[in-house]
Amino acid sequence: MRTLVSPSTLRSPGGKIGYAVIFGCTLLLFVIAFLFPLYWAVTGAMKSPQELAQTPATFIPNEWHPETFADAWDQLSLGKYFLNTVIVAGGAWLAQLAIDVPAAFALSKLRPKFGNVMLGLMLVTLMLPAAALLVPTYVTITDLPLLDVNLINSPAAVWLPAAANAFNIYLLKRFFDQIPDELIEAARLDGAGPVRTLWRVILPISRPILAVVSILAVVAAWKDFIWPLLVFPDTEKQTLSVMLQRVAIDMPLNVLVAGMVLASLPMVALFLAFQRHILAGLTAGSVKG
């Protein structure tokens, strides 16, 4: 593919050298900027506290203490906080799929009266800065109107607001719009109702978009900080991020760093496993140039 620099320039001797130099520099820069900090954190966790505090810092640990990871797991009760985070993120994911997929399907294929008004009202919420809704949503969570329920310290305080996600509905609707109506017609002729059609016909062919929405949902919930910070005042119920921030001052640095590495591992593993979907999700909603 032709880009800024022409292929013929690249083939010339000067071009070859220039390319090699620029490629080498970029590679080095990327390794230093993006991989080295992670190396520093992983090896830092395995240094002894004395070594971690010494100046100048050592680039390779003098003594290796891989057991710090096990210590961190115990001292920070990471098992409990992992479970909390999995419950919060997993529930947010399920809530988004269970609520947004039928809604997008109804708006795309059943086209009810006032459907476009409803969609419009949902999309308008995308224009609001999230911060502007922080306080009133918090107040709502402490005392749900009509139900008189206080969701503070309950994972539902994260699950339900997460499902009010206009971006998901937009992505899903746009995908469903491309599914030919003939396919639904065929399902109808076979005697399938709308719900059955959604379950048996639409969902199986919507795997790509479901994957994108799922990944976006899980990653957003795992990374979120300010909302869990507000709704989980009970230290037993907190997510990993909130707990790490809370104990950061009191913990020995090597234990804290080990905890940070462990808390990041699921996201890094998820990224390595689903990078294609994650990168697709990045451009799925973004604008076309």
């Binding site: 032709r2 880009t3 800024l4 620099v5 690249l10 490629f23 970029t26 590679l27 993006f34 991989l35 900090p37 992670l38 971690l52 100046t55 810092a57 609520i99 039928p102 809604a103 109804a106 059943l110 009810p112 409803m118 949902m122 919420t125 609001l128 800065p129 911060a131 922080l134 306080v135 009133p136 107040v139 709502t140 749900l144 109107p145 339900l160 607001p161 499902a163 009010a164 109506d181 017609e185 709308p194 719900v195 795992w222 900080f225 300010i226 507000l230 991020s241 790490l244 921030q245 950061a248 940070m260 990041s264 996201m267 890094v268 990224f271 390595l272 990078q275 990045l282 451009t283 140039g289």
Partner: protein, 324 residues
């Protein structure tokens, strides 16, 4: 509701019943049947929509209204809220931190644009030219985006440590003096911007890269035949071809960076000397430290208005620039 295509879907329950072999109906009966069918379809659709409508009503639409109301109320969660007019706003304006927070937030936003806008674009243009290790570059630049922001913030706080931190160790190794980073009010904001740029540039870079990939190669060829050098091709082909993505991301970035919270909350707590108190940090203090939800809501309303006015002006100006 009128195109033949959509009507085939809307006919749904009725055709199913007509297949059961009903006797031919009179005109009035058909009208009634059609009405009943429409009703049934709408009920099915709203049945599927109802959960979404409930969560939107509870956690989006209602809070929007509630937020505006709260801005003019005093709430203590014991007594019913009382209407206080513009008292909350007056209280904010009298708070010396109010001006500081807006100034700091603007500074953060401007710095974040200088780095967070330029660096990813240059990186994307560069990566688009490289023929090898593309997968590695994409993976590496996006890796920080996957880290929980609290981890990133705590990690960088440790890197910035003036004693045994990574930066001063590295500077010391090459014989340079270390910096105070987060501990001096001169550099604290800049240090936060570095973290934020490092953590977030992966997504913008990859979006730019995707946009660059859609530029037709012939444009570069034609420009080169016309004698345009590297720089001219960048200015006259690359930039115009990606301007829409650039403009939209610029707006999104301003809106996002104006809401910065995690980095100052975790790394500096607003200090030193209030140099990193941002609007959102102040909002957090009002709501959850002083328990003054009215003033906090008033501050959210101001932030919303500021961003709304900015977005409207921005869209209008860029559209005008497009037309001329």
């Amino acid at each position: 509701m009128s195109s033949p295509r959509s009507s085939s879907v809307l006919d749904w329950p009725a055709t199913a019943s007509s297949r059961a072999g009903r006797p031919v109906a009179s005109a009035a009966e058909r009208r009634r049947n059609r009405w009943r069918r429409k009703l049934k379809e709408n009920l099915t659709a709203y049945g599927l929509l109802c959960a979404a409508l409930v969560v939107f009503a509870l956690f989006s639409w209602y809070p929007i209204v509630r937020g505006v109301l709260l801005s003019f109320q005093q709430v203590d969660f014991v007594n019913p809220p009382t209407w206080v007019g513009f008292d909350n706003f007056t209280r904010l304006f009298e708070d010396p931190l109010f001006g500081v927070a807006w100034r700091n937030t603007l500074l953060f936003t401007v710095l974040a644009l200088v780095f967070g806008f330029v660096v990813p674009f240059v990186t994307a243009v560069l990566l688009n030219e490289l023929r090898h290790a593309k997968a590695f570059f994409r993976l590496a630049v996006y890796l920080p985006v996957m880290l929980p922001p609290v981890v990133t913030a705590l990690m960088w706080k440790w890197f910035y440590d003036p004693g045994a931190g990574l930066f001063n160790s590295a500077l010391g190794a090459v014989g340079l003096p270390g910096g105070q980073w987060l501990d001096s009010s001169d550099t604290s904001m800049l240090s936060l911007v570095f973290v934020s740029t490092w953590a977030n540039m992966g997504s913008t870079t990859l979006i730019y890269l995707a946009a660059l990939g859609t530029i037709p190669g012939e444009l570069y060829e034609a420009a080169e035949l016309d004698g345009a050098g590297l720089w001219k091709r960048l200015i006259h082909v690359t930039l115009p071809q990606t301007r829409f993505v650039l403009l939209v991301l610029l707006l999104l970035q301003v809106v996002a960076t104006m809401q910065v919270f995690t980095e100052p909350y975790v790394m500096t707590g607003g200090g030193p000397d209030d140099s990193t108190v941002t609007v959102l940090l102040l909002l957090y203090r009002y709501a959850f430290v002083y328990n003054d939800f009215g003033s906090a809501s008033a501050l959210s309303l101001l932030l919303f208005v500021a961003l709304g006015v900015f977005s409207a002006l921005y869209v209008r100006l860029t559209r005008k620039a497009d037309q001329s």
